[in-house]
Amino acid sequence: MTRLSKDTSMLGRGVKRKRSCLEELDAEVLPDAPRKVDKKQDVDGDRDRGDRSDMSRLQQRQVVLSLCLKKLQDYQAGMELSLRRSVLLVNTLRQIQDEMQSDRTGSPDLHLHSINPDSCLLRDDFREDLLVTCPGCAVGNAEGLSPSLFPEFPSQEANGSSEQHKPLSSPSCSAVSDATNATGYLSDLALDDIFEDIDTSMYETSDLPSACAAGSLWPISVSLWPDENMKPFCPTHASGGGLQSCLMDLNELDHIIEILVKS
C-alpha cells in the first residue's frame, strides 16, 4: 500500500531521512505565495521567517533535483521508458538548473548558504564534463541523441580521469556528482565482470541491453529519446578511449544475435 512518504527513505545513497521530512518540506515550501504578515511580529521576525522559507525552498529544490536525477537514471532493462515522463523530468531539471543559474547571478542578499557560487556546477566547463557523446552522435547522426539533454551523464572521454570531478562542497553539486560517479562506474567495468554472475539462460533477450549498459551509457539515452533513425547497435563506432569498454568481440555479437534470432 503506497502512502505518502511515511517511512520511505530518501532516494540516494542510503541516507535516511527523518520521518516525514518530505511532508515538512511540502508544507513549508508552498509556491511563491505572498506570505501573510503578522503585524504583531517585528521586522526581524519577518526576516527570520523569510530566511526559513528561502532555506526550505532551497531544500526542496535540492530534493527535487536529486529525485529528478535518480528518476532519469532509473530504467528497466528491455522496457522503453515513457517519453512523456522523461520530457517532464528533463524540463523540471532544466527549470531547477536555470533557477540555480539565476541565483548565482542574482542579488547578493539572497540566502544561498547551500550553494557555493564557485561550485563546479555553475562553471561552464562543468557542463561540458557532463556531456555524453553516444556512439551514434559521434558518427555524426544528426538526429541522434543530443549531449546536452543529459547533463547528469559524464562524457565518455572523461570517464577515466578522476580530476574531472572536483571536490564539491555544496549539496547540489554532490547530488549531480553522485549521479555522474554512478554512471561512470558502469563504463569502467570490463564487460566480462558484468556477465560473471548473470545467468543469461533465462534472460537471453535482455543480454544486449545489459551488455550495452555495462559498456556505455548509450542505451540509457536511447530509451529516453527513441528515434527511428537511430542505429541500435554500433559497437564499431568507437570514437575515443572511453568507448573502448563499449566494444564487443564480433564473435560475442554474433553469438548474441544468434540467440535473439532463435528466440
Binding site: 505518502l4 511515511k6 511540502d26 512523456r84 541491453p209
Partner: protein, 445 residues
C-alpha cells in the same frame, strides 16, 4: 447530488474481477468503454485481453428495473512483442478501446497497444447449417456414389456463440507510444496519436496512413513537449483536438492543410503565479481530453483539476473543478513515489450535465455542472451489497477530523481510479479500480 427529478443517489450494481487482494499484473484494467447504445461495455487489461460485457435488462417494463452486465465475449487482442531493432519489449497492454457505430448485426471495435491498432469484429452465431449434400453432419465426406438425391441444407438453432475475429491490423506507423485512438464521425476514418505524431487512417486500408500532426523537432535536444491525448469532434469530421504535456490544447482543421502543424485554435489558461512551484509543469500536463456529446465543449483533465472549455473561447476554461486540491501541498511526496505522473481520464454523462473523473483511495468524483454540486464516492468491496446506496465520502484537509472523514495522510495512493465510463443514455457508470470493474446505477425513486 440533486438531479432534475429530485435527489439522485448512486447504488452498487455489480463488481467484476478477482476478489483476492493479490493483484495479478495482467489483470490490471487499462481501459473501459461503453459502445454507442450502452448495451455493450468493453474493458482492456495489461495482459492484452479484451472482455466485453452485455447488458441484460430484466423487467424493463417495471418502474424499477435492474440492468445487469454479463460477460459476452473475451479474447486476446494483443500479444507481447519484441522490437529486435531497439532491443525493447512492446507491451501487450491495451491502451484504448473505441467502438465503431453499429452498421449491421456485427459489432466492431478498435483496440490498441503501444504500437499496433487492431479492428475486431464481434459477431453472434446462433444457427448452424445441417444437411450438406457432400458431407456428413460430423464433417466426414460422403461417398459420392451413395448420393441419390439432393437436399437443401437448413439452418437449425444452436447455443449462442460470440466470435471475435481480427479484421484489420494497423501496424508499423508509430515510433512512439500510442496514447489515443478516435473514430471520426464520417465512420470511415480514425486517428491514432502517439507522443509526437498523429496519423489518420482509413478503416479499410492498413498499409498506409496519413501523418496529420508531427511535433517532433528536427533536433531532439529541443523536445520539451509531447502529445498526451487526441480526439475527433463528434460531428465535424474535419476537426480534431490534441492536448500536450504543457497543458495546452490545439484544435485543428484538416481542411486547412494536409499537415495540421499549425493549429486553428490554441486553448491555454495562463498560470496562476501564486501557485507556481517546481511541479507546475508536471501537474499541468493534460492526461485526457473529451468532447461533450453536443460538440460545443471539451473537457480536459490535468493532475489536480477538470476543466471545461467552450470551443469558442481559447484564453481560459469556462468551468474548473478541483478534483483533489488537498494534494497540492503533497506534490513533493507524490513526485517521489511517481504518483504525480498518473494519468486520470474523465467522462461526460449522456446529456453533458455531469462530468466524472477518478482519484486515489478508490475515490471518484462527479461534478454536476448545472447545480454546481459535486460528490465523492468510493468503489470498494465493503460497499458492495446489491443496490446498496453509496455514501458520499469526504477528505479531511486539516484540523479536527470529523467522523466518517478520512485524512489526507491515510489515503491509499496505490488504489487509483484512472478509468471511468458513463452509459451514453442512462445513469449507469463503470468505474475501474486496479483489477476490478464496478458498475453503479442511480436509484430510481
Amino acid at each position: 447530488m440533486a438531479g432534475p427529478g429530485g435527489d439522485m443517489q448512486w447504488c452498487f450494481s455489480q463488481v467484476k474481477g478477482a476478489i483476492d487482494d493479490d493483484v495479478a499484473e495482467a489483470d490490471i484494467i487499462s481501459t473501459v468503454e461503453f459502445n454507442h447504445t450502452g448495451e455493450l461495455l468493453a474493458t482492456g487489461d495489461k495482459g492484452g485481453r479484451v472482455v466485453i460485457f452485455q447488458q441484460e435488462i430484466e423487467n424493463k417494463n417495471q418502474p424499477q428495473f435492474r440492468s445487469e452486465y454479463n460477460v459476452y465475449s473475451t479474447f486476446q487482442s494483443h500479444e507481447p512483442e519484441f522490437d529486435y531493432l531497439k532491443s525493447l519489449e512492446i507491451e501487450e497492454k491495451i491502451n484504448k478501446i473505441r467502438w465503431l457505430p453499429q452498421k449491421n448485426a456485427a459489432q466492431f471495435l478498435l483496440s490498441t497497444n503501444d504500437k499496433t491498432i487492431k479492428l475486431w469484429k464481434i459477431s453472434e452465431r446462433d444457427k448452424r447449417p445441417e444437411g450438406y449434400n457432400l458431407k456428413e453432419d460430423d464433417g466426414r465426406y460422403k461417398d459420392p456414389n451413395s448420393i441419390t438425391s439432393l437436399q437443401v441444407p437448413v439452418l437449425i438453432p444452436m447455443d449462442l456463440m460470440v466470435e471475435a475475429s481480427p479484421r484489420r491490423v494497423f501496424a508499423n506507423a508509430h515510433t512512439y507510444h500510442i496514447n489515443s485512438v478516435s473514430v471520426n464521425s464520417d465512420n470511415e476514418t480514425y486517428l491514432s496519436a502517439d507522443d509526437l505524431r498523429i496519423n489518420l487512417w482509413h478503416l479499410e486500408i492498413t498499409d498506409r496512413s496519413f501523418n496529420i500532426v508531427d511535433i517532433k523537432p528536427a533536433n531532439m535536444e529541443e523536445l520539451t513537449e509531447v502529445i498526451t491525448a487526441a480526439e475527433f469532434h463528434p460531428h465535424q469530421c474535419n476537426t480534431f483536438v490534441y492536448s500536450s504535456s504543457k497543458g495546452t490544447i490545439r484544435l485543428c482543421d484538416m481542411r486547412a492543410s494536409a499537415l495540421c502543424d499549425k493549429h486553428s485554435k490554441l486553448f491555454e489558461e495562463p498560470e496562476n503565479p501564486s501557485n507556481r512551484s517546481f511541479f507546475s509543469e508536471i501537474i499541468s500536463s493534460i492526461s485526457d481530453v473529451k468532447f461533450s456529446h453536443n460538440g460545443r465543449y471539451m473537457m480536459t483533465r490535468d493532475y489536480l483539476s477538470v476543466k471545461i472549455w467552450d470551443l469558442n473561447m481559447e484564453n481560459r476554461p469556462v468551468e474548473t473543478y478541483q478534483v483533489h486540491e488537498y494534494l497540492r501541498s503533497k506534490l513533493c511526496s507524490l513526485y517521489e513515489n511517481d504518483c504525480i505522473f498518473d494519468k486520470f481520464e474523465c467522462c461526460w454523462n449522456g446529456n453533458d450535465s455531469v462530468v466524472m473523473t477518478g482519484s486515489y483511495n478508490n475515490f471518484f468524483r462527479m461534478f454536476d455542472r448545472g447545480h454546481r454540486r459535486d460528490i465523492t464516492l468510493e468503489a470498494s468491496r465493503e460497499n458492495s451489497k446489491p443496490m446498496q446506496v453509496l455514501k458520499p465520502r469526504k477528505v479531511c484537509t486539516g484540523g479536527k477530523r470529523k467522523k466518517d472523514e478520512i485524512s489526507v495522510d491515510s489515503l491509499d495512493f496505490n488504489k487509483k481510479i484512472l478509468h471511468t465510463a458513463w452509459h451514453p443514455q442512462d445513469n449507469i457508470i463503470a468505474v475501474a479500480t486496479t483489477n476490478n470493474l464496478y458498475i453503479f446505477q442511480d436509484k430510481v425513486n
